[in-house]
Every structure is written in structure tokens, then in C-alpha cells.
């Protein structure tokens, strides 16, 4: 079967790859949005923490025999703890200052992480085998789908949906949203906002690590995998606006699909298509697709 001279296998294969990238955009921009909501900081080290997540999985497998499923739990935990330490020891001192300092600090941390990993592991990277249960694939009729790729999409959407549910539909989420709007008032009502802030940062970066483990078997695990991704995620965040959780998820997945489609139609532009969309959105809807008009 062909469509515009492209076989359906190639078309749907690229769309699936796009959807996978979109899943990472969604999980990462979601984490950025959650952190930004409460801390007013754009976490530049988000990409580095995603990279560390992937490395925890890789090193765990090589040295400790940690299997994939355990890595999915351990890596977010490790990175979450790391995040808590960073928040407690450094970010905490910046809340009263201009937001830019938070960005600069986390940029510095990202450089440190990237440099350290580059020293020990070089830039070429290694590959991580997909878990046994998810090797192989199934024939869907219009395309052949490797099981692991399907799993990445399903798991990411599940995590995004779970996060959305917690924030929008539970008492904890209500407290979180209240603290985002009026931290002092929430504090006056007897809720420990500083702890909430620390926990939010921890969970936000744990999401990044989760995405990193998911990415390990489909991408090369290398020290710069995060920094290349995070810039695209920033563009995604500009396009979607950080006002809405559901908005971040939809934007992330949608842009991944668009990118995949571009790879089929006009491959040269696939690296830049998201930036171009960002420009168009800025021209016609400066606050972003789901952003509140300032």
C-alpha cells in the first residue's frame, strides 16, 4: 500500500517514531511545567537529569545486573533524591531573586553533569537492550510495530495521565494548585509550602529520569542526549504555554507527530520544524496555544 508514493510502512513507522519523540517531549515539558508552576524556575538541567536517568539504567544493568523494570523505578528515585538535594542546598536561596538566576544555576548544573559524564563515558554512547518481554513486534496489518516502541508511547501517556489526574483531581493536587497561585495564603492555612516545593521539584525531575529510562533502549545513551532534547522541549513549552497540564501533554505528542511526518515528507526540515512552528505560533498567538493571554 502506498500513499503519495510513500509506503505505509515508512509513513506509519516515522509517525510512530514521531509519537515516541512526542512522548518524551510531553513527559519532559510536563515536568518543566509542574516545576515552573510552583518554583517559578525553568529547570535547564532537566535534559541532564533525563540523561542521568538513562545512565542509571545503563550502569545499573552493566554493573549491578539491575533489570529494566527495576531501573524504571530506581532511576527516578535516584534522580529525585538528587533533585531534592539540589533544591534544598541551592535553588532554595534563589526564590526571592529574579527568575533568571534559577535558569542560570540549573544551566551550570547541566554543564557539570554533562562534563562529568563525558569524561567517564566519552560522547559516542552505548546502546541499552530492550527488556526480553518487549523484544520483537506485532504485525498490525498496515505496519509492523516493534513492541518496545509501542510500550514507550503507552507508558508515557499513562505517566502523563497519572500526573494530570493527581494535579487536577485529587486533594493533594488542589493544595499544589493553591500553592502555585498564592503560596503565602496556603502557608498561613497551615500547609508546609517549603516541603511541598521540595517534593514538587523532586517529582518533576524524577519524571525526567523516567523518560530517560524509557529512552535508553530506543536512543543512544550518551552524555549529550539531554541537552539536544531540552532545547526542543523549550520550544515545545513556548508553543504550548505552561499554563495547562493537559496542554503540555497534547502539545508534546502533537509536535512529535508533526516532526515524524516532516521526516517522511521533507526530511531536511525535520530538525527545525518545531522551531518554525514556534515562530508561527509567536506571530499569531504569542501567549502559546494553551497559555493565558498576558
Amino acid at each position: 500500500m502506498t500513499l503519495f508514493g510513500i509506503t505505509s510502512q515508512a509513513l506509519f513507522g516515522q509517525l510512530l517514531l514521531g509519537l515516541i519523540n512526542g512522548s518524551f517531549y510531553a513527559v519532559l515539558s510536563l515536568g518543566l511545567a509542574v516545576i515552573f508552576g510552583l518554583l517559578n524556575i525553568i529547570n535547564f538541567s532537566h535534559g541532564a537529569l533525563y540523561m542521568i536517568g538513562a545512565f542509571v539504567a545503563l550502569l545499573g544493568l552493566e554493573h549491578l545486573g539491575l533489570n529494566y523494570w527495576l531501573a524504571l523505578a530506581v532511576a527516578p528515585l535516584v534522580v529525585g533524591v538528587l533533585g531534592v538535594v539540589v533544591e534544598r542546598s541551592m535553588l532554595r536561596h534563589l526564590y526571592k531573586l529574579d527568575h533568571l538566576y534559577g535558569l542560570l544555576l540549573t544551566f551550570g548544573l547541566a554543564l557539570i553533569a554533562e562534563g562529568v559524564f563525558r569524561y567517564f563515558f566519552g560522547v559516542s554512547g552505548s546502546s541499552y537492550p530492550p527488556p526480553e518481554q518487549l523484544q520483537g513486534g506485532i504485525d498490525l496489518g498496515f505496519m509492523f510495530m516493534p513492541l518496545y516502541r509501542g510500550w514507550v508511547v503507552v507508558a508515557s501517556i499513562a505517566v502523563c495521565a497519572g500526573t494530570w489526574y493527581v494535579i487536577e483531581r485529587t486533594p493533594l493536587g488542589a493544595t499544589l494548585r493553591a500553592a502555585t497561585e498564592k503560596p503565602q495564603l496556603v502557608q498561613a492555612l497551615g500547609i508546609n509550602v517549603p516541603v511541598l516545593v521540595t517534593a514538587t521539584y523532586g517529582v518533576g525531575v524524577a519524571l525526567a529520569a523516567f523518560a530517560g529510562v524509557l529512552a535508553a533502549p530506543v536512543m543512544q545513551v550518551n552524555p549529550v542526549m539531554g541537552s539536544n532534547l531540552i532545547i526542543v522541549v523549550f520550544a515545545v513549552v513556548v508553543i504550548g504555554g505552561m499554563g495547562s497540564i493537559a496542554g503540555s501533554i497534547v502539545t508534546g505528542l502533537g509536535l512529535g507527530l508533526v516532526e515524524g511526518l516532516t521526516k517522511v515528507v521533507y526530511p531536511e526540515a525535520s530538525a527545525v520544524v518545531i522551531f518554525v512552528i514556534m515562530i508561527v505560533v509567536l506571530l499569531f498567538r504569542p501567549a502559546g496555544l494553551f497559555g493565558k493571554q498576558a
Binding site: 527568575h99 542560570l104 544555576l105 551550570g108 554543564l111 554533562e114
Partner: protein
């Protein structure tokens, strides 16, 4: 403390102050002129190029309060244009540099026009994303030489007369350009326009309610800053006879932020001092510690943000300010 009533001793002290100022500048000029006989000129030229880059960047961040994370696009874009024109068209260096500067100014206009639709953190992310777009374009365009970059750019003859292949001649040309650009930045900062920029940085709603067209002021700041960053990039391309992907990479944008932050945001000389320190560190450390350079840069970032936000020059000024306050109290 400073009293609003003019102190009887104030006038002579001001005169002494301006004398000291003049003396300081004279010493700096003499040192700059004599430097290439004591220090390797190529190193000095590198410092000057990056000092100019950082000063241009600081105009935007330090005075207008806009953090661009995409200045590598202006620096590198201009380097490519300048190198391409000098190598393939055979333009003289000053014309190639002017062309690079003009292209960078135009890019700054476009970046600014898009980015100032949002403010704060969004503006930073937009500039970073736009610069990444420029990076990918530079990677794919045929004339940029892809991964190799444009190598073997001729230094040529300045105005068709002075052979710039000579390192000393090249140095004095770079110094002259730096001095002119620095003077321009100084004039801009101290002009009424610069005052309005600072007002926007301090309190944008107030500036708007006073009737200033804030967007136009910000956009112009973007254009000037980008143009001078472009001059720096073009100069660098001529000096090192090379324009490469490193120049447009986001690491370069980060580096210029670091230089400015380390030297002192919103101080005239700070970014230049920051550039001197960072370039020296890179030169000294690159062979010895390899990839740890990135780690050290990151660590300097962290320390600057946490404990040293005024930067080198900012701290000096604060010290001097404190001492002057003490003197005032004793008078």
C-alpha cells in the same frame, strides 16, 4: 551618607575623581598598546574578541534586563558571513566585517521582534530555540562547510593597504575595533536612551505608563547588541581564519552569559574582565584537564549565581562605594 545638600568639599573631590578616572584610562591605553610585546598577540586578540562579544551581550542583559540565550547565532552567523565573503568573494577584511555586522543586526532585529512578544523566561527560551534553528541551518547550508566549517579564511589587507597577516598589525586593528565598539556601548548606556532601558529593566509597567514605547526600546537594544556581537564574531573569523559550528553552538551562548555574569552584570568593564578570566582559564586548562573544562565552567556558573552575583567588577565597585560612604561619614 550622601546628603542632598552639596557638600563644600564635593567639588574638589569630584575633580580628583575625574583626574583619577583619566589616569586609569591612560594607563589602560598604554598597557593595551604595549601588550603584544609582552604577551602572545593571538591570545590577546581572542580575549578582545570575546570581551567585545560579552560587552555587547551585557548591553541587553545588564542594561535592558533581557536574557538572551541565543547570542551565538549573531556571533557565529556573522563569522560565517564574514569568512565566506573574505574567502570566496575576496572582500577586504573591513568590508567583510561590516557585512557580518549588518547580517547580525538584521538577525537581531528578527530575533528581537519575535522574542519580545514574551518576557522573562519565555524570552530566554525563544532566543535559545531560534539560535538552535540557526545552528541547524548552518549545519546544512552548502557554503558553511558543515562539520569542517570555513577554514583558511584570508586575513587580507586592511583597506587594501595594511597586510593583516602580521600578528601585530592584526592586533592593533582588533584593538581599534574593540575600543570603538566599547565607546559606542558606553555612549549608549549613558545616553537618554540607555536611561530609558534601565528604567524598563527596573520597572516595565511604570515605563509603559510614562508613555515609553517599551517594545521599540527593547527591539533597538536587541539590534545594537546583536550587531556588536556580530562584529565580535566577524573579527574572530578574520583573526583565527576560521568560522565553525562551535561559533553558533548553544555552548557559545552559555559562555558569553558566564563571562558577563562572572565579570559583573550591568557594569561597563565587567564583561571584558569576565572574558579575560574565562579565555585565560580555557587556554591554560584545555590541555591539562580536557573535558573537565566544561565542569569547571559549570561550577563557576553555580558559584557566581549562589554567592557572587555582583561579579568581579561589581564587587570592586561595591567595595569602593562602601569606602567612599565611610569617608563621607568621617568628613
Amino acid at each position: 551618607m550622601n546628603s542632598p545638600v552639596t557638600h563644600p568639599a564635593a567639588a574638589p573631590r569630584a575633580a580628583a575623581h575625574s583626574n583619577r578616572h583619566l589616569l586609569g584610562w591612560s594607563v589602560a591605553v598604554v598597557l593595551a598598546l604595549a601588550a603584544p610585546w609582552a604577551i602572545y598577540p593571538t591570545f590577546l586578540m581572542k580575549v578582545l574578541c570575546f570581551a567585545l562579544f560579552a560587552c555587547a551581550f551585557n548591553l541587553l542583559l545588564g542594561y535592558a534586563g533581557l536574557l538572551s540565550f541565543g547570542h551565538a547565532a549573531f556571533f557565529g552567523g556573522s563569522a560565517y558571513v564574514c569568512a565566506g565573503l573574505a574567502k570566496h568573494v575576496g572582500l577586504t577584511p573591513e568590508l567583510a566585517i561590516l557585512a557580518g555586522t549588518a547580517v547580525a543586526a538584521a538577525m537581531g532585529g528578527v530575533f528581537g521582534w519575535l522574542a519580545i512578544r514574551r518576557s522573562g523566561i519565555y524570552l530566554t527560551m525563544i532566543t535559545l530555540a531560534l539560535a538552535q534553528l540557526v545552528f541547524f541551518i548552518a549545519l546544512q547550508l552548502p557554503f558553511t562547510g558543515g562539520e569542517d566549517g570555513l577554514q583558511g579564511v584570508p586575513r587580507g589587507r586592511l583597506f587594501g593597504l595594511v597586510e593583516l597577516g602580521d600578528n601585530h598589525a592584526m592586533y592593533y586593528f582588533v584593538l581599534a575595533v574593540f575600543a570603538a565598539a566599547f565607546w559606542l556601548i558606553r555612549r549608549t548606556v549613558h545616553s537618554p536612551y540607555g536611561q530609558v532601558l534601565k528604567a524598563i529593566r527596573e520597572n516595565e509597567p511604570r515605563a509603559i505608563s510614562l508613555g515609553y514605547d517599551v517594545h521599540r526600546y527593547k527591539l533597538l537594544a536587541f539590534v545594537i547588541s546583536a550587531a556588536l556581537a556580530g562584529t565580535a564574531g566577524a573579527l574572530k573569523a578574520i583573526v583565527f581564519q576560521l568560522a565553525s559550528l562551535t561559533d553558533v553552538h548553544w555552548h557559545m551562548s552559555g559562555e558569553v552569559v558566564l563571562m558577563t555574569l562572572l565579570g559583573g552584570l550591568g557594569t561597563l568593564l565587567g564583561p571584558a574582565a569576565g572574558a579575560l578570566v574565562i579565555v585565560t582559564l580555557e587556554n591554560e586548562l584545555a590541555d591539562k584537564v580536557g573535558p573537565w573544562v566544561t565542569v569547571i565552567m559549570g561550577a563557576i556558573f553555580v558559584v557566581c549565581v549562589l554567592a557572587f552575583r555582583r561579579g568581579l567588577v561589581g564587587e570592586l565597585l561595591a567595595l569602593r562605594g562602601a569606602r567612599r560612604d565611610e569617608q563621607d561619614e568621617q568628613d
